[in-house]
Symmetry: C2
Amino acid sequence: MKIKRALLSVSDKRGIVALARTLRTFDCEIISTGGTKKVLQNAGIDVVDISSVTGNPEAFGGRMKTISFAIESALLFDRERDADEAAALGIQPIDMVVCNLYPFDKVKAQGADLATLIENIDIGGPTMVRASAKNYKFVATLTDVQDYQTIIAELQASDGALSLKTRFKLMRKAFNHTADYDSLIATTMDEQAGAMSLRYHFTGGRALRYGENSHQKGWIYRDAAAGKSLYDCVFLHGKELSYNNFNDIQGAIDAVKELGRFGVSVIKHSNPCGLAEADDQRVALENAWGGDPVSAFGSIVAFNQPVNRHTVSFFELNNEDKSRRKFVEVVVAPDFSEDALQYLMFHKNLRVIRFDPQNSANAFDLKYLAGSLLVQDADVAMFSKMELKTRRTIDLDASRALIEFGIKGMRQVKSNSIVIVRRTQDGGYQLLGMGAGQPNRLISTKLAIEKARENLQNEYTGNDFEAYVKTVFAKAILVSDAYFPFPDNIEIAAAAGIKTIIQPGGSIRDKKVIKACDQLGLAMVFTGLRHFKH
Amino acid sequence: MKIKRALLSVSDKRGIVALARTLRTFDCEIISTGGTKKVLQNAGIDVVDISSVTGNPEAFGGRMKTISFAIESALLFDRERDADEAAALGIQPIDMVVCNLYPFDKVKAQGADLATLIENIDIGGPTMVRASAKNYKFVATLTDVQDYQTIIAELQASDGALSLKTRFKLMRKAFNHTADYDSLIATTMDEQAGAMSLRYHFTGGRALRYGENSHQKGWIYRDAAAGKSLYDCVFLHGKELSYNNFNDIQGAIDAVKELGRFGVSVIKHSNPCGLAEADDQRVALENAWGGDPVSAFGSIVAFNQPVNRHTVSFFELNNEDKSRRKFVEVVVAPDFSEDALQYLMFHKNLRVIRFDPQNSANAFDLKYLAGSLLVQDADVAMFSKMELKTRRTIDLDASRALIEFGIKGMRQVKSNSIVIVRRTQDGGYQLLGMGAGQPNRLISTKLAIEKARENLQNEYTGNDFEAYVKTVFAKAILVSDAYFPFPDNIEIAAAAGIKTIIQPGGSIRDKKVIKACDQLGLAMVFTGLRHFKH
């Protein structure tokens, strides 16, 4: 369909001259309004003023420019069914609308008052856009400056015509544009009235093999308003990503993205069962793996730095002794060296994903509860204070980095959450044991201690294991996501040999808990911030 | 602002005659179009035809009716700033638009083809609605049939005028209406192109005291497109509901809503630590509480039936011995007898919520991952088969109800999830122990067994506890949310005295697992459906 007559009326003038020039090379007549017309005329382009088509003046401070029987008829009439009627009424078709709307979003972002917001609600623009989009079988609707280049190329390749396929695509974009526009106006006006509403737009839906389980269908979309997210990850190798993979990868990314140096997280069922940072990436991986070498099989492993071959050769994927091969479901990192990727490809099913954890930051958490929506600020703070509460002291400055590592780890474990962390001999930090998702905090404490002991057993080669545990635990730190309601947790930790506990504080029985620490010779620090995660 | 001239053009004709009659009693001039005009004239109401205002005919099969310089000018011009210009152009103000749009939603629901969908995209309607809404300072925009009664009342009370407040409210509704309208068109056209997009609208946002933790802000909204949900629960008594309360109440409701007879769930940190159904509500509560009498303190308790005083007196809220009082955070039920409510109000902080779990059903789960969205069908199926795999048999028909109870419980526990359920002496079903949220299934199995033993210890008064455990476990059922990768879980269960295991099956080592059952004398049933929940 050749574009013989086009209406150009844009708020954002970028690229409009080049587009108009292209249209003119095919003798397309250009109708235009106010500011757009000036820009085009200044560029030496022949333009017909809109009022010569509408028969009406521009009126009411620009509120009325395009809206008219003549313009909307020219956009809307069915070129087949209504041809005679149009001719009788003297309506000549317009084949293209190029229009972007008053910048309500920008004006809002600038903190405009109600009157200014209202003045920036475009009426004529959406009318043209919607009318021409409805009639996409005969009319092209251009609403996005980013599309001009492709459209120019198609016009040039097709002797000034645009295909039905292109017009259909532009129509979809047009209605998405007006939907976005009115969505923002609606939520803004609600906001002006003190009423809170939210509108989300998710795009690019892709069906996954299935949902959390094979009898559930599953999909992934991107939030059109968000920046980069997991949706944009680059799939380098392996089996298709599953619903549970995406969920776990997000957990792995969240766990690793705040770590310093070389950081590694190992995720199973959305809880980190391994977490470490070190000066050496291979060491970090070994230490993360060591957090739960049993559960680490079939896990999701995330790195905060580009990965090299020496690091991933830890997985022993090509070991002739198959029992030595460490299979993980997914490896995700900001990048992979060529030989690291080659190495990982030894396993045909292992999913290798390029995604920079730094690209996954969100100010908000959303939780959908069967028709209700919980929204909250992301949990980004770590502590509001660092207050030693016991007779036994610790050097807070010297321990600060390890404590922060412990809080970062604990914050990713589902509540009730207890983690035990230590400084390793190489100067790195390691999650030595964790207890997750228990209704009773006591059980989480027991689970963390048991797992830590098990891990120490794996590394210990001497013949006084209990003495070794005491030595390690004396320098380790136990971190709790919420206060201890009773001294029982302290007693269990003390019996195991733990000497330092980090917790938010805030229980009505804090005094009893502190007293228990004093009696048992433990140091306890209050951070002031609870970190529930469900 | 008195309504002197109104434009009525509606697709849905309900209530339009009554509204027009009211307007006429205040001598308001009524302009109307096609079908609407006929309905009003048939009712004997004086109507001015729109074409006498626009100066144009209705054209192109109805595509052009209202859009014109005259109409939109009459709606849009600023009554103060533009008064002279309007007079000079012969534009008389229109003070009210009553308009609802072509029923794109209904046509879509009927499965219309693309051409029909396109024909049902209203162009003139949204233009009028948006123009009059923009000019809300001078024009009222009525888009919802449900509002006619209130508007009629205000017109009658105010001598044919509508307040600025009303016009502002109508304006918000108008932009929400056009946003919804174009949102549906946009997602439908994407769909037509095989591209998946979603648009959600959440309304009625309320700030909560804080989010999951006190340093996070939190809000709750309702999904405008969903039916009743937790947002609509009725708050009868107690402290304000917190973010975590809402999350846990949803968990409690999900756990109880599928139970038969009298059902009760007890939730802590979004996992059910207690679950029971019985012929008697008080018994069900006692048995649910018995699933973890330690963690039940400070829990969320949900009922599937209206609650009576005898049931809740179990909490002993007014016991003079304060240590006997069982404090829970929230009690939620479809209803409360007057005396049950009075009883619960003994505790000033206890939140009492009226909500019928049956009102919380959703076809979809949404999970937001920092800019990406996972969508899946809700997990509603229980099993695809019921296949005995071992030499030891069980009577599947006789055990069916208990197995289903076990699956319902297991399905609500975070993965890896293991539950042990039993039939109680009164013929009810009880969750006797559960293991939740562990990276290693073995730990979940151990946790479930330990908890079950602990609970049996609470009820046992004899002097051969181990024999008692064996007797109970021999009749209990252990349910796993996913297959057992190795026989180790079987060995632990067998050693504890468990005789019957329900699991989906599907491991490459199923044969080894079945063999272990046969060697240890256990019955095992495969259900074919995994139930991961994260």
